[in-house]
Point group: C2
Chain length 245, copies 2
């Protein structure tokens, strides 16, 4: 399998670079992508088996060293593209992780990025390293400090999704309100009142009725909506949220 050979070459190269960094006492810089997806009413994350022997039985985030001639964002998009084949995704920096001992092979500071993609709209390009989706709820140990990074990104997402319309990136273009609510409930780990949830989104006025209905459901089909970005963009955002802690 070609993909496998590519990865092996990569691995070797990576190992050589890390050794060089260590010998020279230089700090390496990498980007790790926490790629969230939503499927079967669960929040999921894309993971691979770690390259390092030390962590051979652990899962790891998708990361790579940053090239000298690419921005951090570009590195994040590159990693995402290489692994998922996707371009048009939501991606944002979350936090740097730079503890001295976080990488066993060398000193590596990593910038964690959070990305949201629609699982249905993409095909995993490379299945090397057993790339696949994992339920957030069932992940315990991971390689490096990746569990900490994942938890940080999940908390970031919980907060972020309430203040910005990111969630739609995880859904198909057309979705029912039930799907939207399931998404929020899964990410926030709470139960919400259906009527109040609907009221809230309708009053925010960012959804567009497609006049279509859910197909193939064994019950009354729900209306499908689209997120209307223009409406959202035009809204005057209230600047002052109110002190509360």
């Amino acid at each position: 399998m070609i993909a496998k050979d590519i990865m092996t070459t990569r691995q070797k190269k990576l190992k050589a670079i890390l050794e060089e960094l260590k010998d020279d006492g230089i700090i390496g810089i990498s980007v790790d992508c926490v790629i969230f997806g939503f499927d079967e009413n669960e929040l999921k994350v894309l993971l691979i088996k770690s390259d390092l022997e030390k962590y051979e039985d652990r899962w790891s985030l998708l990361g790579d060293l940053v090239n000298n001639q690419e921005d951090l964002n570009q590195a994040a998009y590159r990693i995402l593209k290489e692994r998922t084949g996707m371009n048009d995704v939501y991606l944002e920096e979350v936090k740097a992780f730079g503890e001295v001992g976080r990488h066993p092979a060398a000193r590596v500071v990593t910038i964690a990025y959070c990305s949201l993609i629609n699982i249905r709209h993409h095909q995993l390009k490379i299945h090397a390293n057993e790339l696949h989706w994992h339920k957030i709820s069932s992940i315990t140990k991971m390689a490096f400090d990746h569990k900490k990074i994942l938890d940080t990104c999940h908390e970031w997402l919980q907060k972020r999704i309430q203040e910005h319309p990111l969630g739609f990136s995880l859904l198909p273009k057309k979705f029912s309100l039930r799907e939207l609510q399931n998404l929020y409930e899964a990410i926030l780990c709470v139960k919400l009142d259906r009527r109040n949830f609907r009221k809230k989104f309708f009053s925010m006025d960012v959804l567009e009725d497609t006049r279509e209905f859910e197909p193939d459901v064994p019950h009354r089909p729900g209306k499908l909506y689209k997120f209307n970005y223009e409406k959202y963009r035009k809204k005057e955002r209230k600047k002052w949220f109110g002190i509360d802690f």
Copy 2:
């Protein structure tokens, strides 16, 4: 002046390191501290003159390359200690800045930290590079991408101060409600209703009456309060803020 000589040695060393990084095509990693203070009812930030000739007439944040054997946080605390002599300050990571061209001498990724200190409680230790406080409102151009970093940190602070009790780090231990309100107004660039502001903080139940009063004011003195961290810690925080965007 000794301080000046120290800095000159430092500068030479820094320059040599940066050249080496550039020659080897290696990415350097630095920490830049945005150190906020509050004085004369204005939000201020601590700046120095840039080391680089290119930016000799511009102001710059306080930064340094990260040592191989120190965490990012440690680097930030070190910089802060070196410049202000302070240890017990609020300090938090805000964001990484890693565009390819952001540093003219080499590729350097920087992690921006935001720090809040009480101007009155510290003496600037080293006055090299014309270290001193600048009003936020009167800063226009800065060295590197430091204006962008400063703006990002200011926005971060505006948001953060409404959700967490950071603001007290900028005030003396004992403060009047007027001072507290001035602080919020200065940071948020808004005018607030005095009665509602008081009601809000009293209802949050995080202030402790010291039974002391402002001294030396040419009008009725206000009560002095302390921030009660224990009360704050014990409060049950509401997890669910409500979707709103």
